[in-house]
Every structure is written in C-alpha cells, then in structure tokens.
Amino acid sequence: MQLLSGRARTLESAVGVLILLIMIATAVGIYFIQRDFNMARFGIASGQESQGDFTPVGKVETYNNDNLYEKIDGKAPMYQEAGFVKLTAQRFAAQSNSELGFELYVYDMNNAKNAFSVYSRQKRADATDLSDLGALAFGYVAGNEICISLGKNYIEMIGSAESNELVDGMKGIAKDLSAKFKPTDNDKIAELGYFPVEGTVAGSWKLQIDNAFGFDGLTNAYSAQYKSCEKTVSIFFSMRKNADEAKTVAKNYYDFLITNGAKAITVDSEILKSAGALVVDFYGSFEMVFPSGVFVGGVHEANDKQAAEKAAEVLIGRLKEIND
C-alpha cells in the first residue's frame, strides 16, 4: 500500500540521509579525538608495548575541562586559566626494577605560550635545565621529576623514587619526545628575546597569562631574573594593544599597589623620571612600573633599590629598541 506521496518520500529519504551523515561525521570526530589518546602519538608507547625499559601499566587516562579536577584537584584552575584543553596520563613501570616507574602527564594547552606559562610558573628553584631537547623546547629535572614545554604540550614525568637510574631512563624518553614531537617555528616565543641580552639569567623566564603579581589587569606578563649591581632582581614586561593601553595598565597597577598598602617614593634616576616610572615601597621591597611604547615594564619585589633602578633603566632601553 502506498502510504506517502512522492514528495514526502523524497523528504523522508533526505532527512534519513542527513541523519546518517551527521552520525558518520560524529563517528569520524570521535575517531580523531580518540586517536589523540594514543600515547604512540607522543612516541612513548603503542598500546601495551614496552618503550625501552618501561612498560605501560593500567589504562591511558584522559581528562577534559569538565573533569580535570578529578586528577589534579586544586591545581586544575591554574591550568584552565592558562587555556587547558586536555590531559592524557599513563603510568609506566621499569622492567629491570619493579620498584621504579613514573607517571606521564601530557597537557594539551592549545598553544606554545599557554604550555610555557604553566611550565614556567611551576619550575622548581633547584631545577637543572635539560639542554638537549632542541632549540624550541624547554625542560628541566628536579629530583624525581622531569618537566618539558614542547610546542602546545606541557609534559610532566613524575618518578616514583629519587633514583639516578630512573631519572636517566626518563631523560632518554624526554629526548625521544622532543625529537619525535618537534615544535615548529610557529611555537617560538619571540617575547623571551625581548629581555636584555646581557644580565638576564638564562632559563629564569616566566609567563603569567593572567592575574600577574595578583593584579588581574596585568595579563601576558613575561618576567625573568636579572643580574644588577651584583644582586638579582625580577624584571617584567607585558605587550599591550597600543601605547595608550600600556599607560593605563601601568597606572592601574600602580594604583593597585597603593590600594594594598604600598608607599609612593621618588627616584633620582633621570631615565626613570623621563620614562614616567612609578615607584613604590611595598612592605620593604621595591616595585617599579612604567609604560614604554606598547609595553608595560617594571621591576618586581626587589630588595635593593639601587639594583632595581639600574635594572629598570636597562629594561627601558631594551624595550625602546624593541618598540623602534
């Protein structure tokens, strides 16, 4: 029995085909997302195959913005505020020594700057830099742990023990990772080159995507340790949309410090005066902030005023070069 007209049948078929296409597209999408879950993509292991001396233990875990807290609880907001997309984690055990193993965390941070931000903010004071990961990668060893910023990925390898044997094994994997998962030129963080060439402590760079130094108006702030007058001070800059915005942010940061108890002080340096630097004594440490073209620059938590002034002078000169 003919129940539907020709036009209705055509419409019904079209709707059916459309639904099928949507389902196929969904399946393809899931396939590509799931493909990322495979650690082989990172050159670590394929399924349950061993990687060198290390064998995967248990299943690969994946977390997104909705459930990241289940893995790292109170530290999740730090990653999420820096652009977190996905975490993939897997445990590995050493075949030669069942007491040794590590857990690998691969955080997809969406881009190299976001990855560098979480890497640099957590970098340990006693870290030893890994120098053989390639020009665009950053990495260090701290005790039982190796951390790497590799393109859009921030990677942690957390060793189960303080063991040279284990750390050496993890270093080998770190090297493999950097070779197989090379950052591209697009991952280069040019801003790290804006610090003064002389005096900046290599590897001390930090990037705070937002809320730098507790002030929510200071975003994308790069900082580094700088040797000045035989002291070490922290210098920083943030690139703004234009010079007017840079002036506004500098003034707002100064107001924020004053509101929180800082006392305005004067400086003798003509360079700082002409740059419009705002200087405060913040409970015994010195804070300086100034606009420089499209940049907001300054010195943070310096214990020595003279060292802070000299560092600020050098930074003003350097940022002027970049502006020009």
């Binding site: 109170g74 005790g143 039982n144 303080e162």
Partner: protein
C-alpha cells in the same frame, strides 16, 4: 482519484505519526518527572545518623575541651614517635578513645601518588594512630576518604591501604550510596549538597589526619581543608569560593582530634606537587582538638601568617576555634 487518496492517506499517516511522537515525548517527560528526586541521591538516609539515633547532618564527634590541653607541637623526624608524643601531651589516647569505640580515620588520599611526594597522608601516621586506637580497645577502626580519582589506585599507591590493613583497620572506599545531601545551618555553600556520610554514621569517634601542603587556590591545605574530601558531586565548583567552603566544612565536621603532619611540608606547587624539590623537612607533628589553632600554627611552617589564610578568620568568627594558637598555650616537646 488516486492522487487525492494518497494525499489523504499521507496526511492521516502524518497525523498518526505526529501523535505517536508527541505521546512518546510526553511519556518520556512523565517518566523523567516521576524519577526526578529534588533532594538528590541518598536523601532517604539523611535522618539516619550515629548508632541509629536520628540526626540531621554529621554527628558531633568532639570530646570535652580541657584548658591547657588543646594543641601539642612535637619536633622530630620519626612520625610514629612524634604522633604518639603529641597525643600523649594532650592527655593520652584514652582521653579520646574508649573501649568499644568505632573510630573513623579520615586521611588525605586525594591522589594516586607515592608517600615520597607528600601529597597524601603518610602511611606511618596511619599505622601509629590505628595501633593507638586498638590499644585502647576500640572495637573497630575505619580508614576512609572520598578519593575521586580511582580510589583503589589512590589508596594503594599512597601506601595507606597496606598500612591501615596491616594495623588491623578496615579500609572503606567511597560508593555513590555513601553520600547524603546535607545542609549546613547558616551555611551559604553547603545546601543540599552530597556529603560523604555513611562511614561516619557508624562511628562515634573521628580523627582527621592531614599532610601539610601548599595549595594553589587556598594557599595551604591542612586539617580544615582535609574535610574537602567529604564533598561529593562536582566539588570543583567550590574552588571559586575556596575560603568559605573550607570554613563551612570546618563548621560542619566536629572531629574528636586532628593531626597535622608537618614532618615534611610541601612548600610549592601544591596540592599535587610532583617533585621532591617541592618538599622541605620541617620535622613537626601537631595534634589538636582545635582545627583552627592547628592550621594557624601550620601556616608558619609554610612561611605564612594566619592572616594569609582568610578561612581561618571566617572559621574563628563562626566559633570553630582559635587562630591565636599561642593563647592556648601549646604543649611542646621534641623526640629523637
């Protein structure tokens, strides 16, 4: 006349199909409405409390306060020795545990990380406290926490399962049915929120044992923050109001005793840490009947002041305890 008939049939068929679809949707909505429980899972257990008595919320596990025996601070590297001494200074375990007591120990088992990293309660403290409880003839000691990320791995890798079991305690893993929606009287955040209750309703003593850690959101994770593990549901929403939720949890939970293990302190990158570089040997064990006092002292080991932790002031104002721990005349000792 074929075309008109077909169109009529098609129209009729369309109406029939439409009616069936509408009936299906209505039935689905009806079933959903019938199944909907506005109070959430476990609501029926809300009134079932401590040893069969009817209580609203968690029972009060605290013991009578004794002036001059509120907080003890013991220096030393050996956790078993320092925790024993700290409890002894407060009057001994007999002040807290009586024969026949059912004791729940709530460690921090939030992560599947080894004791080396200091992110979870150290198993040596668990062993020592479980043994003390059994020495005073506790009938049962339960060790439990709501580890949200694969509890079995958390309890195993942290070493807590092995330590607790070896000392004779029962290790209880969280289940959905163990949560009940509770409301804190006067609270702003804890309203009909699922709380990990069931293991506590069978006990009459509660001991919280926390490691001393830096915390990205709250600056410090100590004995008060340890109760965060009782929150069910999507508890990450409270990270946006971390100080108030810690204070409210401290108002909700009235433990018998809290122990703060500052033998090793996680100074940076908390609460997970990851590297031994985050840790510092601070060789201090604190036992206290006053959570606020314990955490106020603990802040000094993190190079903080009590004023740096807003939740201490909130809890103190609510009557939970005293942030000025020196006014309580802490009992101090050192063991080698």
């Amino acid at each position: 006349m074929t075309e008109p008939n077909q169109e009529n049939i098609a129209r009729r068929q369309l109406l029939i199909r439409g009616a069936k679809a509408a009936a299906s949707i209505a039935a689905a909505v009806g079933v959903a409405r019938w199944l909907y429980d506005p109070k959430g899972p476990g609501a029926k257990n809300e009134e079932v409390g401590f040893l069969g008595t009817s209580v609203k919320g968690l029972p009060d596990f605290s013991v009578p306060r004794k002036n001059g025996q509120v907080i003890s601070i013991v220096k030393g590297q050996d956790r078993a020795k320092t925790v024993n001494k700290a409890i002894e200074l407060l009057g001994g375990i007999e002040r807290f545990i009586k024969p026949g007591d059912v004791v729940v120990i709530k460690p921090n088992v939030g992560f599947a990380t080894p004791p080396l990293l200091g992110a979870t309660t150290h198993p040596d403290v668990i062993t020592a406290v479980v043994k003390l409880c059994y020495e005073k003839k506790a009938s049962r000691v339960i060790v439990t926490d709501n580890s949200i990320n694969d509890p079995a791995s958390c309890f195993t890798i942290s070493g807590i399962r092995k330590a607790a079991s070896a000392a004779g305690a029962q290790v209880v893993m969280p289940k959905n049915s163990y949560f009940s929606p509770l409301t804190l009287a006067g609270g702003v955040l804890i309203k009909d929120w699922p709380i990990y209750c069931a293991p506590f309703t069978k006990a009459n003593k509660l001991i919280g044992i926390a490691p001393l850690k830096n915390h990205h959101r709250s600056a410090a994770s100590m004995t008060m923050k340890n109760w965060y593990g009782l929150l069910g549901g999507r508890r990450n929403v409270f990270h946006q109001d971390i100080n108030n939720i810690i204070a409210e949890l401290a108002m909700l939970v009235k433990p018998t005793l809290v122990i703060l293990d500052g033998t090793v302190t996680m100074m940076t990158n908390g609460p997970t840490g990851g590297s031994v570089s985050d840790l510092k040997k601070t060789n201090t064990m604190i036992a206290s009947c006053d959570m606020v006092a314990a955490d106020a002292f603990g802040s000094s080991l993190l190079n903080l002041k009590p004023a740096d932790l807003p939740y201490l002031a909130i809890a103190e104002k609510a009557g939970v305890g005293t942030a000025d721990y020196e006014s309580l005349k802490p009992l101090r000792a050192e063991v080698t």
